[in-house]
């Protein structure tokens, strides 16, 4: 028996030592900046790490539907509220939860919006376990950085310097409208269900928000391809169950006024920039009506927001010019082809 106990003890000691070592390796390997070239994933969403402490009042999490729809700088221009999008392509809910927790570390948003499309996304148990493990021991996520690391990075605390000028929003000017006149939404299917794992994760997000004094609001942004009445009803009852508000912009078609012929970039799934401006205007009004947010315009501490706005506008201009140039080039080539023929 004694030898048995001795073996168990030495096993535990070994495991403890291993944990310590892996933690040390994690400290060494985590990106020392939130830039992509420093090894950070999802740069624009992680840009929130470099925002000033407690300057973000509204956090939006979710998948691409969020970052194609909500334009924080427009809200800033119209109402002076500060918002940030921690949304990533095909976001899985454990990752959503990670961003919510991450955001609360340095920010104290009064409202957290969760775009509901992510609630329907399936993933394996293994992926969720892996995410937890990576959060405890970041070396598991960032181990590959050995390829690009400078030696002095090993022992340094991270310093986050990358700020997304668009606050996580993605500028998508392309137009690919819906051709049919009929109003068609996503056909009902077996994927119109919130997996049990996601329910659990959502409850956790709700708890974290509550603990940090933020209101969680479920948000469905305008989309024809990712929304239908079944989904609305499911989220609606889920919101009641959790005691949170459900804000479905699809139920306000008239008020939002999206023109699906010209204001979507992929035939009804995501909005393009024009659509996003309309939807954001409506979203901003909704925020204003809540009457709990402060207008920070003119506040010295928020000067950077005006700068960021100018920066973003310049970026858009540049993008537009680039696109025009490409368009012209294409037309020229077409002409050449036709004359040749």
């Amino acid at each position: 028996m004694r030898i048995y106990i001795k073996h168990i003890l030495s096993g535990l000691l070994f495991a403890a030592g291993l944990l310590l070592l892996l933690s040390a390796a994690s400290y060494a390997m985590i990106p020392k900046d939130n830039k992509e070239e420093a090894g950070m994933e999802d740069e624009s969403a992680n840009g929130i790490l470099a925002e000033g402490k407690n300057t973000i009042d509204v956090l939006v999490v979710g998948d691409s539907l969020a970052f194609c729809t909500i334009d924080p700088l427009l809200i800033w221009e119209q109402y002076g509220f500060t918002s940030y999008l921690c949304s990533t392509p095909s976001q899985k809910l454990f990752y959503t939860e990670e961003f919510v927790e991450k955001a609360f570390r340095n920010q104290s948003p009064k409202m957290v919006f969760l775009e509901t499309d992510a609630l329907f996304r399936e993933y394996t148990n293994g992926a969720a376990v892996q995410n937890r493990a990576e959060r405890v021991l970041p070396v598991l996520r960032y181990h590959d950085r050995w390829k690009k690391m400078k030696p002095d990075e090993l022992f340094r605390q991270p310093e986050y310097t990358y700020r997304s000028s668009s606050k996580g929003f993605a500028y998508k000017p392309d137009v690919d409208g819906i051709k049919t006149k009929k109003k068609e939404v996503k056909p009902a299917g077996p994927d119109d269900a919130v997996p049990g794992r996601n329910r659990k994760e959502l409850k956790k997000i709700a708890r974290v928000c509550k603990e940090n004094g933020a209101e969680l609001i479920l948000l469905s942004v305008p989309s024809r391809k990712d929304w239908n009445m079944d989904r609305h009803n499911i989220i609606d009852s889920l919101a009641r169950e959790l005691g949170v508000v459900y804000f479905d912009m699809n139920m306000k078609e008239e008020e939002v006024g999206i023109d699906w012929k010209t204001e979507t970039k992929d035939q009804g799934e995501h909005l393009n920039y024009d659509g996003a401006r309309k939807a954001t205007a409506y979203f901003g009004k909704y925020l204003a009506e809540k009457n709990i947010l402060t207008d920070h315009r003119g506040d010295e501490a928020y000067k950077t927001w005006d700068k960021d706005k100018k920066r973003f506008e310049k970026e858009i201009e540049k993008e537009k010019k680039k696109l025009e140039k490409e368009k012209k080039k294409l037309e020229k080539e077409k002409k050449k082809q036709t004359t040749k023929d």
């Binding site: 291993l18 070592l21 892996l22 390796a25 148990n125 293994g126 376990v129 181990h143």
Partner: protein, 544 residues
């Protein structure tokens, strides 16, 4: 058929290999803990239960194949045993001069049962794995003859590991027939032998006499076995995660778009594939044998540092050993000791001498072995070619042997010299790489095109950063693969010299022991090719 669809049969598709998180962090530890908690008497049943659970997790309903196979083999074994019993009874009451005839009669009876059982076992395997290939070829012939006839190409869900447990089943029956083991009257013991979870997916192919008894004894878990088993698993991990998975993008890209690359790059990819195959398969075997060791089971080794071989025939005695041994015992020897073969040998020996006399019979047996070997790996002409390639090489080795001896003797080449041995090792390696090239090639024709470009267009002119990144890797990847291979080489040399590393390590002070283990784990964690941007290789041998 993509391998993933094969695994989707089960509900826990993420438990696809012995290196998956679900297996390592879930199934295995739970099984180990459960095994050490249940009372001694129940341990074996617990192990059987876990094995079936494992099979069900990855294959779902297809677990019936395993169960039915076990049931039928159990039944046939008992049938054979009863015939033997009957024979022995009758022999007691028979005059001496009649004994021989009686024995012969019973042998024929047994042989019929064995044949029937083998046809049943292999029938299922052949039906599931080769019908598709067969129909496709029949259709091709029909199309060639312009016959307006076409069969629909069927596709089946093939249970994981069927090629492996079928081999075990048939070897069990053969051994009962030959009288080297007694038929098992205990269905559960036989069931555990057939289904033991660490080996069910990729082998090694065990013999009943080797593992069934050990498994059924179900000793507890000892500290020494636990630590040594874990060490072995970690070593396998290093091979698989750091080398096999890291090389994957390069191999996949080049083998898929082989026409885009010059010969030098193709040669590099071919070498990488052979390395990957070895690291993947032998790494998995390390994990399998290590896992078995945790439960106190000694499994037969499947690899014995094959790349130190000096000839192809030696290579195959050191690579996938249990498969080679199976073919040797159940195909090569039976064919060679068949009556007409022996007669042929005796006659030929008198005419063409001692060396070439037995070659004819040997060649026939060898041909059978390598045809089966090729087909066993899969339904496809390139697999058959792979078999024939090795058949030709080994046969040539035998034919040329006296000639080589004569030449080296005449030229006074010191055949024992290190450099000559190195030459042989390198030559064997090159031949193996070519064989594995066909093995991996998408189809037979692709293999030939690649081989031709390797020979006629051997340049590395385009090998630069851009090309590497096109193949999905970079110089750092190659560097770390190189370092890891050097570690493996060093360990292999030590093993070759008979030094048992884990035993030696166990004698060292605890600080050193732990430092080595910590180092190994950190090495795998940091340099392993897993996580974002990496797709692990499907376990290569699981779909054979």
């Amino acid at each position: 058929m993509p391998l993933s669809s094969l695994f989707m049969a089960g509900r826990f598709s993420q438990m696809t290999s012995y290196f998956s998180l679900a297996y390592l962090a879930g199934f295995l530890p739970l099984t180990i803990i459960g095994y050490s908690i249940v009372p001694k008497k129940m341990k074996k049943y617990f192990l059987l239960l876990c094995s079936y659970a494992f099979f069900w997790f990855i294959s779902g309903k297809l677990v019936v194949y395993l169960a039915l196979s076990t049931l039928s083999v159990h039944y046939f074994g008992i049938w054979l045993a009863r015939i033997q019993l009957q024979r022995d009874e009758e022999l007691k009451h028979t005059e001496k001069e009649n004994k021989k005839a009686l024995k012969k009669c019973y042998l024929a009876k047994q042989r019929r049962v064995l044949l029937f059982a083998a046809v049943c076992s292999f029938g299922v395997l052949l039906y599931l794995k080769y019908t598709r290939f067969f129909t496709m070829n029949v259709n091709a012939v029909l199309a060639h003859l312009h016959l307006p006839l076409e069969f629909t190409i069927p596709s089946f869900l093939v249970p994981v590991g069927i090629s492996f447990f079928t081999m075990q089943a048939v070897s069990y029956l053969f051994d009962v027939y030959r009288g080297t083991i007694e038929a098992d009257d205990n269905l559960f013991r036989l069931g555990l032998f057939m289904s033991f979870f660490p080996q069910i997916v990729e082998g090694p192919i065990c013999r009943y006499g080797e593992t069934a008894g050990q498994l059924w004894e179900a000793k507890g878990i000892s500290y020494a076995n636990l630590t040594m088993g874990i060490q072995r698993i970690l070593y396998g991990f290093m091979k698989k995660l750091v080398v096999a998975d890291r090389l994957n993008p390069l191999i996949q890209t080049v083998f898929q778009n082989y026409t885009d690359y010059e010969g030098g790059v193709i040669a590099m990819a071919a070498v990488c594939y052979t390395v990957q195959l070895y690291m993947d398969f032998s790494g998995t075997m390390d994990a399998v044998i290590g896992t078995a060791q945790i439960f106190g089971i000694t499994m037969p080794e499947n690899f014995q540092r094959p790349f130190f071989s000096r000839s192809i025939s030696e290579f195959w005695k050191r690579w996938h050993i249990t498969l080679g041994a199976w073919f040797r015992d159940y195909i090569f020897y039976p064919v060679i000791s068949a009556r007409p073969m022996k007669k042929m040998t005796t006659a030929a020996r008198k005419k063409i001498g001692n060396h070439f006399g037995p070659l004819l019979a040997g060649a026939v047996a060898l041909f059978c072995v390598w045809l089966c070997n090729g087909l066993w790996h899969g339904a496809g002409w390139h697999y058959i070619f792979f078999g024939m390639y090795h058949f030709a090489l080994i046969l040539w080795g035998n034919i040329a042997e006296p000639g080589v001896k004569w030449v080296t003797g005449k030229l006074h080449i010191p055949t024992g010299h290190f450099l000559y041995r190195l030459f042989q090792i390198v030559r064997t390696g090159i031949l193996v790489v070519i064989g594995e090239l066909f093995f991996r090639a998408e189809r037979l024709k692709a293999g030939f095109v690649m081989l031709r470009s390797m020979i006629t267009d051997f340049h590395f002119t385009t090998l630069d950063k851009a090309l590497l990144s096109k193949m999905g890797i970079d110089a750092y990847d190659l560097l770390i693969v190189g370092i890891t291979l050097l570690i493996v080489l060093a360990i292999s040399i030590l093993n070759e010299k008979g030094i048992k590393i884990r035993e030696t390590l166990a004698k060292q002070p605890v600080v050193l022991r732990w430092a080595v283990l910590y180092g190994l784990i950190l090495f795998i964690v940091i340099f392993g090719a897993y996580g974002l941007g990496y797709i692990p290789v499907d376990p290569i041998y699981a779909n054979f």
